[in-house]
Symmetry: C2
Subunit: 289 residues, 2 copies
């Protein structure tokens, strides 16, 4: 199966799992908004969970709640990031954002409940022994909270009022939280489900997460808004420093390619079995959305 | 020790635990806002955790992260409920709300990170075996998400645009989510930490949670805003149905007193050892804030 087919199959499985879980919730607008926000997307983070789990001999059925958990957490972060008081975006994955389609209160609440759902999914006994599930809870909390995504988003907002563009080190730190933390958790998850050492997956994810964000900055400059499904050129218009403004377009492309090589090399302990994860790393810098 | 002294001691312990955990986080404004939002309050929910744990022979040191977890979750719900797009409150516990003291983005993010913290705290090995900690994660998720607090808050917001006041059944369902769910989780937590049956504590908490909310509605009418530390008479001014508007002041007082009796009776299996929890139930309808 080609990489794109594998990614599509994983996305469909995760989509179905999340839809099934949400069908069991009360039929109220906030749950509709959760389902709406959790639909679509590439499911790259969930794919990393399924593939890293497969590498450790974990069956897809055990990894699926974990993959759905990272996608629920990702969806929560997007709904809150899109709010008027944050990035104020009207379009996401080609559709109106939650606060535009419903209202701000529903955006806040649907995001809140999607974060809760991410932790709830990790309690599923099908994942395996309780100590592994608790390790996943601790790892997700690190990725999500004031040391991870919330820190990254807070630094991003602070940068807008800093009165000067960020340096390369500052942007790297910001993105390590904002995008990198959940990518790292997702890639490590397979090892955590299996009770194995996540060191190699962690090194892979660190390099790949940064490549992913550089690619995002490149897409913001060169991309097609219709394909991306969201507003582009926002950073340049806002005069924000990005990897492209700091490294130049060619410099950013080179740096991203080097990081993908680094990510692939980190998977050496897994040999050929990790080819799908290597393709995922290459995909991060070739994607159009 | 008197009930008030026990409650005060519990509050101080929880306060110190939360402050210690937050001191380990990055020194950024959003973490300051988390610490600010997590300060103060009666800590009644945390007290329920510590007392229900003591009933089951659990040492305070093992119950403290669980008590701190429910208080972090409670603080998150207050910060988000106070946002302009929700209840739009400027005062909480006698102090400016987070979005007033900082800004809306910080309010959203600090609330988000406090929810994460609530789950993170449950991963602490000091609580006990991993299967007990996972049971707590599942229980907290039920209390917090689209079947619990988020559902209650969504129903509350929907009621404002319903064009008619809610019925008694509707208000009871709304409050079961908004206030009741976390009180139930808090009271059951002691049994969950011990791996025991939470049925008696659950019945206690169901009655007490409703009494608590009726008392809140009474305080909204008869209370002193300075003692309450927040704006009062908001419900009456908004023409919202409350237990007082539906049952009358005396009827509401009688119903709350009956529920407290019911809560106390549910603790019969624990005998005299549960006296402190009975006092907590009586306290819910005698408090001034």
């Amino acid at each position: 199966m080609s990489f794109t087919d594998r990614l599509g199959t994983a996305a469909a499985r995760i989509e179905a799992h999340l839809a099934g879980v949400l069908e069991g919730k009360p039929r109220v607008p906030v749950v509709e908004a959760m389902a709406y926000a959790a639909r679509g997307g590439k499911r790259l983070r969930g794919f990393l969970v399924l593939e890293s789990a497969a590498l450790h001999g974990i069956a897809p059925v055990a990894a699926l709640p974990v993959a759905s958990s990272v996608e629920a957490l990702h969806a929560y972060s997007l709904v809150h990031d899109d709010l008027p008081c944050m990035d104020d975006d009207a379009l996401r994955r080609g559709q109106p954002t939650v606060h535009v389609k419903w209202d701000e209160a529903t955006g806040v609440l649907a995001g809140d409940a999607l974060q809760t759902l991410a932790f709830e999914l990790l309690a599923d006994p099908v994942i395996g022994p309780a100590d592994r599930r608790i390790a996943l809870v601790a790892s997700l909390a690190r990725a999500s909270g004031a040391e991870g995504m919330v820190l990254g988003q807070a630094l991003d907002i602070a940068a807008e009022t800093a009165g000067r563009p960020l340096t390369l080190d500052e942007i790297t730190a910001l993105q390590a939280g904002k995008t990198g933390a959940l990518i790292r958790h997702s890639a490590e998850a397979g090892a955590l489900i299996a009770g194995a050492d996540p060191a190699a997956l962690s090194a892979y994810a660190g390099a790949m997460g940064l490549a992913f964000q550089i690619a995002d900055d490149i897409l913001d400059v060169t991309g097609d808004a219709a394909k991306a499904g969201k507003a582009l050129r926002k950073d340049a218009e806002a005069g924000k420093a990005t990897f492209v403004s700091l490294l130049g377009l060619e410099g950013a492309r080179r740096r991203a390619a080097d990081l993908v090589e680094e990510a692939c090399a980190a998977l050496a302990p897994y040999g050929a079995a990790a080819e799908s994860l290597r393709e995922a790393a290459r995909f991060t810098i070739s994607r159009e959305s």
